[in-house]
């Protein structure tokens, strides 16, 4: 009986050690620099507040610490959308002027792998910029660093909050260099196929209510691309040769 208790204590200690090592593993550190930040191509920078109360609407299942806003907005409680967040917000340009309206759909990803330091979210931004056009940005986001550096310390803090300066890239794909994909819709973005990254800058986070002072930024590269089928087939023919 005594041996069994010691064995159970050993198993528990081993499990805690394994989880602790994975959580604090230096191998899962976030990328220090996005490839787009060193690109010389023309870019569009769009900023938004990542605080729910500063958005037009934010909704989720209602079970998260980040509460839907406004209070009477419909919640996403049905099973297929229960793990989805929806954000509609004003996007501001580099001069802090309103430039467009963005709708962000974010769903927890089944490709999440804790062993690899990947807490993944599949997201899509629809961006409408009056006078300029519209686009869709497809992203796979990795929130591991954000959870480890901000969310967990906020929960461990006696005041249930975190304060500091944190800046990180959350975009992790689907591009080979960890960039998101951009598909132009209309206006000057029509036909555009390009790349984008999303970063977060946090200064305060509450374990009870979520982000208190946090801003997101989308950096969208305006490379000349195509979704034209003829050009795609020409590229495939070139590959054959």
């Amino acid at each position: 009986m005594k041996s069994l208790i010691v064995l159970i204590l050993g198993v528990a200690t081993g499990a805690v050690l394994a989880l602790g090592f994975l959580f604090f593993s230096p191998f899962s550190a976030q990328k220090p620099l996005s490839p787009i930040s060193v690109s010389e191509r023309e870019k569009v920078l769009l900023r938004y507040s990542a605080v729910a109360e500063n958005s037009i609407i934010f909704t989720n299942s209602g079970e998260s610490s980040v509460h839907p806003f406004p209070v009477k907005v419909l919640q996403l409680w049905e099973p297929p959308i229960r793990q989805t967040d929806l954000l509609v917000t004003v996007l501001r340009d580099g001069r802090n002027q309103p430039a467009g309206i963005g709708v962000k759909f974010s769903s927890l990803s089944e490709r999440t792998r804790v062993l690899e330091g990947k807490a993944l979210v599949d997201s899509a931004w629809y961006i409408h910029m009056p006078g300029q056009g519209s686009m869709l940005i497809e992203q796979s986001e990795n929130h591991w660093s954000f959870v480890r550096d901000i969310v967990a310390p906020a929960h461990w803090s006696s005041g249930d909050n975190w304060r500091g300066n944190w800046h990180g890239t959350i975009t992790d794909g689907p591009g080979a260099l960890g960039t998101g994909r951009v598909y132009g819709g209309s206006g000057r973005f029509a036909g555009l196929v390009s790349e984008a990254v999303e970063t977060l800058s946090a200064k305060a986070y509450s374990a009870v209510t979520g982000p208190v002072a946090m801003e997101g930024q989308l950096t969208i590269e305006l490379a000349v691309g195509t979704d034209n089928m003829d050009e795609i087939e020409r590229a495939a023919n070139a590959l054959r040769q």
Binding site: S3, V6, L7, L9, G10, V11, A12, T13, G14, A15, V16, L17, A18, L19, I56, I57, P70, V71, K72, V73, L74, E78, P80, I81, R82, Q83, T84, L86, V88, V90, P98, I101, V103, F105, S107, S109, E110, T112, R113, V114, L115, D122, A124, Y126, H128, P130, G131, S134, L136, E138, R181, Y183, G185, S186, G187, D227, M229, E233, A236, R240
Partner: protein
Amino acid sequence: MIRVFAFGILLGVAAALTALHFVPMVDQYREESIISVTTNGGNAETFHVKVPTDRIMIGAQGFANSLPAGMEWPDDPRFHEVRAEVFKLRNSRDAIIGVASRFASTDPGLGNVIEWVLHLPARGTVFARIPPQSVDGARRVGELRAGTREFGSLNGRMSERWVAETSASDQTTAGRIELLMTFVGNEIYVPEEELAE
């Protein structure tokens, strides 16, 4: 006793790593996809939203019945020509399977345009652009601009149609918006032997 404790630690480490590898951390609930084969080739899938039941948000400048209550639509003049709506999205069996946004713009620089984004958490996202002119007095037909994950390799069209609810006896607008997506795959097959050359 120390040996038992050390063995327990190893067992605990192994058990934790095995569990993390094999037990999925996220499991999205899936409704069965209802896809039909069209007569001229390709596939078709129908979605719809019930109005006003499924409407999460409607916003436009000067619009008296903005939803949800308490929402502040931006009053910047550049958003004057934008009408934005967000819905829960249903499949043809009337089950909620995702969320969708619909933006209608009468931008003098861009022309009139309607853009839909359908987000199905377990499957992916579809981006469609639809001209505001109807083709038969009821349906507007546009093209799929882009898709992600399951929809990433698809090419096709999307139509929207307003179906009024005839049983509505009060003055409120009620009905449903039907979305029909017809698509074909646009992946290009390159035989492995050609790739190897």
